[in-house]
């Protein structure tokens, strides 16, 4: 008997939860805010669904009732992707070590 592909996806999902569990516990508490902003950015990979939806119209009508929602979702996800990664970058750039040599 063949295994339903859903089972494979479920396996990936469950194993990823475990990876997430161990990886996130190793995040230092002082970086919890950047952790939230970067998870925000990466969860916006949902944009791939939005792009499929946006391109679902045919050449005569780019905008149909389904692709409009796709285009809106693209913009929302793009705000998050750019905003999330850039603000994380900005925060991480501020974390500096003590200068060893005192003047």
């Amino acid at each position: 008997m063949e295994i339903d592909p859903f089972i494979f996806r479920l396996s990936i999902f469950i194993l990823s939860i475990f990876i997430g569990y161990y990886v996130v516990w190793s995040v230092t508490p002082s970086l919890h805010t950047p952790l939230m902003s970067v998870t925000n950015a990466i969860s916006s990979v949902i944009i791939v669904g939005a792009i499929i939806a946006g391109l679902s119209g045919n050449s005569e009508s780019v905008f149909n009732h389904s692709s409009v929602f796709g285009f809106l979702a693209i913009s929302l996800a793009a705000i998050n992707i750019f905003g999330g990664f850039l603000v994380t970058q900005r925060m991480l750039a501020m974390y500096k070590k003590k200068k060893k040599d005192k003047k």
Binding site: V23, T28, P29, S37, A50, I51, S56, A78, K97
Partner: protein, 465 residues
């Protein structure tokens, strides 16, 4: 156009890059590289999506336009936002992820052919279940985050909003969501799909309004988790590995953060979610309020105390963020260090309005991160320190959490500030903190209260040093 197998491999690669992005955050040195991996993963995912559809007609132009439009807005916000507004920003971003998930689900429901999910009115059962769960969780994330945003921004009052029958109402709505998903999957009716979305928006709103301002760290982490589960739900619908991996990562990340925050307050997750903490406790504390003598001082006294100290521990709290006092504080510490006084910072897990809030603010003010310590690391040092400088924190220093089993915060881990030789409290008034209870520390023999705006007081102290 690239084959489905090849694109699946690329999605897997971008999923792995996202794991590395989170892994990088285990230390500040590797974190910037981690962020770069995240960006790379995102670029791969988006490029592969374009290539696998292979449709570069007029629709493609519009996709790019909307992508750039959103990107410009996002980049603008990222550069303009002050660090003190980070909790609001994150809450706002969560709402966008939620709404994007809802939109993708709507689009897939209206035009399932484009996603290979069947035809309208005849969507594959598995896909429909995944889609409706993704849409419902996305809608809850959206409306919940909007409320969290409004509360953090101060547009909506931070105090809990409770009414009679709140919990039964929420329970009924949650059950009806499950029932709606079941009915939707058996009937494929589009009416039920819209009703499901509306009800989910409503419950997100109702779930967050009874939760008070200082519980926001838990709420933000929880919504972070929801946004991940919503993405994973959509990932199953689209059969997309990158989305499934990311959703699971974000989902567990948010859940762990909520757990850490709850532990920092010694409260159970359900206790926080059921809400109304501040409102119920206020009545009991007002009864026991009696006038007790406090010692209050001015900047000159504080400067004198600190000048004669050999080690000082700074305890920042939400009040520092409100007063934007982090830069003034750093200047004060610089002056102290010039006088060969050892200074370190002690951060309570729930200080501020989101996990790690204080650390970011101190980093912004150029405080080196190896001078900043977590509660467990530094708590034993208070006994050996001369001065504790508490700026904008209150409940997290209250010794009552260790001594009085009747107290609502009993059992909460607190910073042992009272063990210092002397304690300086920068505060606007004697009013109790969020938990609504009096802080015994104010009336201790070795405590000096500095009643002023946190920023102004620290500046004045620096002048007097």
């Amino acid at each position: 156009m690239i084959s489905a197998n090849l694109s699946a491999i690329f999605y897997l690669i971008s999923g792995v890059l996202f794991i590395l992005a989170l892994r990088g955050l285990s230390s500040p040195e590797t974190s910037r590289q981690g962020n770069f991996f995240g960006i790379l993963g995102m670029i791969i995912a988006i490029t592969v999506t374009f290539l696998s559809i292979g449709n570069f007609s007029s629709g493609f132009i519009f996709v790019l336009i909307f992508l750039l439009l959103g990107g410009l807005i996002g980049a603008y916000i990222a550069y303009k936002i002050p660090m003190t507004a980070m909790p609001e920003l994150v809450a706002g971003f969560h709402s966008l992820v939620g709404l994007a998930a809802v939109f993708v689900a709507i689009s897939a429901f209206l035009n399932p052919d484009a996603f290979n999910l069947g035809s309208p009115g005849n969507i594959k059962l598995g896909s429909l279940i995944e889609m409706s769960i993704g849409a419902a969780v996305g809608a809850i994330t959206f409306s919940g985050s909007i409320i969290a945003f409004l509360k953090l921004q101060g547009i909506m009052s931070g105090s809990p909003i409770t009414f009679k029958g709140q919990h039964p109402l929420n329970a009924i709505i949650l059950i009806s969501i499950v029932a709606l998903i079941y009915l939707l999957c058996s009937s494929q009716s589009s009416h039920l799909f819209w009703i499901l979305l509306t009800v989910s928006f409503l419950i997100g709103f109702l779930l967050i309004i009874p939760i008070g301002g200082a519980d926001m760290p838990v709420v933000i982490s929880m919504l972070n988790s929801y946004s991940g589960w919503a993405a994973a739900g959509i990932g199953f619908t689209l059969e997309n590995t990158a989305l499934i991996i990311t959703g699971a990562l974000v989902g567990s990340s948010g859940a762990i953060l909520s757990y850490i925050m709850c532990k920092g307050m010694n409260r159970s997750f359900f206790n926080v979610i059921l809400g109304g903490f501040g409102a119920t406790e206020q009545s009991s504390s007002s009864k026991s309020k009696e006038q007790r003598p406090v010692k209050s001082g001015n900047a000159d006294d504080a400067a004198f105390l600190m000048k004669n100290a050999s080690s000082v521990i700074i305890v920042p709290g939400y009040g520092m963020a409100v007063a934007q006092a982090q830069h003034a504080l750093r200047e004060m510490v610089d002056t102290l260090k010039k006088n060969d006084i050892k200074v370190s910072y002690a951060i309570h897990p729930v200080a501020g309005r989101m996990p790690g809030h204080m650390n970011v603010l101190l980093a912004e003010a150029n405080v080196p991160y190896d001078e900043v310590f977590e509660l467990e690391e530094i708590n034993n040092d208070f006994a050996n320190a001369d001065v504790a400088f508490v700026i904008g924190a209150n409940d997290v220093t209250n010794p009552v959490a260790k001594t009085d089993p009747q107290s609502p915060i009993y059992g909460m881990p607190v910073l042992d500030v009272e063990k210092c030789k002397s304690v300086l409290f920068v505060k606007r008034s004697l009013s109790p903190g969020y938990a609504g209870i009096d802080n015994d520390l104010f009336y201790k023999e070795n405590t000096l209260m500095l009643f002023a705006d946190a920023k102004k007081m620290t500046e004045d102290i620096t002048k007097n040093l």
